[in-house]
Symmetry: C2
Subunit: 137 residues, 2 copies
């Protein structure tokens, strides 16, 4: 393995959210619906995604800083600083976003999801189903 694995984005977020500074911090804090626009090359990977599915979307938070190791959680200047592995701050060594969302529409290689706090243009890395109980896997 290369010591520095390379990510290959499989699509982009298409959203009304433009400014990271004013975007909701989490999807369940008022984030809007958004489209995941996938590259045609991965059409087979998404062919079984269906309306109603609950999935985890992984994104690359390309506006984030990678040199931050401690931060004030939720930008609260009165809070004590925490190591970033104890926060959900986008600023961290590998700024991968995790977004648990539900699929509300599909249109070819476009998939619409609810409550996504990632801004317009954010690269999409992966989609995984939310795991149910062991017996249903």
């Amino acid at each position: 393995m290369s010591p520095h694995p390379e990510l290959r984005p499989v699509g982009r977020v298409e959203s009304a959210l433009i400014d990271p500074a004013t975007a909701p911090r989490q999807g369940d804090e008022g984030a809007p619906e958004a489209w995941l626009v996938f590259d045609a090359a991965v059409a087979d990977a998404l062919r079984d995604l269906a309306v109603g599915d609950q999935v985890v979307v992984l994104t690359w938070l390309d506006r984030a800083r990678r040199d931050v190791l401690v931060t004030q959680p939720r930008n609260d200047v009165t809070a004590p600083e925490l190591g970033v592995f104890s926060t959900r701050s986008p600023d961290r060594p590998n700024p991968i976003g995790l977004h648990t969302v539900r699929i509300v529409a599909t249109d070819g290689t476009r998939v619409r999801v609810d409550g996504l706090e990632a801004v317009d243009g954010t690269p999409v890395l992966d989609v995984k189903p939310v795991l149910g109980p062991i017996a249903e896997r």
Copy 2:
């Protein structure tokens, strides 16, 4: 942004699991405890991780194939093939592992977690706290 963002692993898994073919498929299916051995350079990022914390560990599944778009879930040859975005197969365009675990011990830059199905040597990318209800964030 570069079209191909580069990951920088922040540590490695140290585990008795050696062979991906016989490793449990998910952490709650009999996976053992394992150490996350972090690079000294990120010590500040993990300084607030504590025994009892429930966290999501992100790994780079470096034994996985990146050219697989459809697969038979759970290697069941009688099951219909599914697009990989509808499965948890490690074989996918960006093979990032998500592991929800609990911290059972810490020792400097070594963090021991329960139920981790990643094999020995797997690169660690990130650790995030499991999010509780909105009011507790």
